[in-house]
Symmetry: C2
Subunit: 195 residues, 2 copies
DNA sequence: GGTGTAACAGAATGATTATTCTGCTACAAG
DNA sequence: CTTGTAGCAGAATAATCATTCTGTTACACC
């Protein structure tokens, strides 16, 4: 591992994210993080101040490097359910390329592992789910403009719940097609009801 | 706390379950468990051998005291989607009586908190999800006998995923009606497609 | 080349925690 | 009452781990 003669906080967060994502907060010791990031204790503490702060910074990196690239298609003003399908496909492919069973969703994992007693983490989780909800609402509206807003929101709620469940399932499944079939079945349900 | 002149393993597991469920594995120290169970270190170690073994024993207790009472209606030979709805309602009420946001599902929590690196826990999680799947399959068959088995299994998969997502959501929600609406919307989707 | 600084490796510190151990106390059986 | 035993409280042990500290090394700038 080369000396990191100059590293940005973003680079450090990126590597930390990789480790936290795969192993969780509690199972990632500072020793592990030093090895995984290639940055010395001194570097970590002077850049972030501690393990928890480093962890929180990973949410930003996760949004930028994982969520946005996959989900922005759903957030575009004219997105439809096809874009939702593309979002799932992209994340499933990512999981496959990393190797299934994969690490799931960093946010969802953090929600159950650390959020209960931690308002900071809880806020990040809420923010993420709100983002998903907004995107799904707009995709539903575009796909079926005749549906009432109230019902659109309810369906988007169900979609968020399904999404969380799906990434949880991706942690126990070795074949991406199992996830694809679930997505397919679920989206078919939705399209049936929108007709 | 009275001296536990005689306690059964099941009683000890019950109290331990309560604490593990609310706080997770990592955040429950032996000190906490001693206080929460009213059983001394000696008692715990002589009954179970250690923290991990005690934790594993809680899965049995959880099945018996939480899952079975709520889910057996779905497992009865003539169950329908109405029984599925009752299952959700019962668990939501339980959450409300404990106080929302609640601890979610003990199994689902364990899945993300400890399962990744732990085959024993992973096996318990798989067992639980298989049980849900079986129950849902049979309820679907009874509600809509004309549906092909292949499609029934796929829908049951989606239901399991939704269930996991729902109990995850119950950890961040203070109003049970939010969960009820989600269940309602989801079951409506299902019924639409079965027609 | 010399010098200062930024980052390094790894040891010391202090806190926490699972597990084991030591004596003590309540109670039941005789 | 005596004695044996089952369970108790809490101290000792040993491991782990976040954080801080100490001395060292590579590199940029003069």
């Amino acid at each position: 591992m080369p000396r990191m003669t100059s590293f940005t906080s973003a680079q450090l967060s990126d590597r930390a994210l990789e480790h936290f994502w795969a192993n969780g907060f509690h199972a990632s010791s500072m020793d592990d993080l030093v090895k995984a990031t290639g940055v010395s204790r001194h570097g970590i503490y002077s850049s972030f101040g501690g393990k928890k702060a480093l962890f929180l910074s990973c949410f930003d990196r996760y949004r930028q490097s994982v969520v946005t690239p996959a989900f922005e298609v759903v957030e575009s003003p004219d997105a439809t359910l096809q874009d939702v399908s593309d979002y799932f496909e992209r994340q499933i492919s990512l999981g496959e390329s990393v190797g299934l069973p994969g690490p799931g969703c960093f946010v969802a994992n953090s929600a159950t592992e650390v959020a209960p007693g931690d308002p900071d983490v809880m806020a990040e989780v809420a923010r993420h789910n709100d983002r998903l909800h907004k995107g799904f609402v707009s995709a539903l509206q575009n796909s079926a403009p005749h549906i009432k807003p109230q019902r659109t929101r309810e369906l988007a709620d169900v979609m968020v719940i399904f999404t969380n469940g799906l990434w949880t399932k991706s942690r126990t499944v070795s074949d991406g097609d199992v996830l694809r079939e679930a997505v397919q079945s679920f989206l078919t349900l939705l399209k049936d009801t929108l007709k």
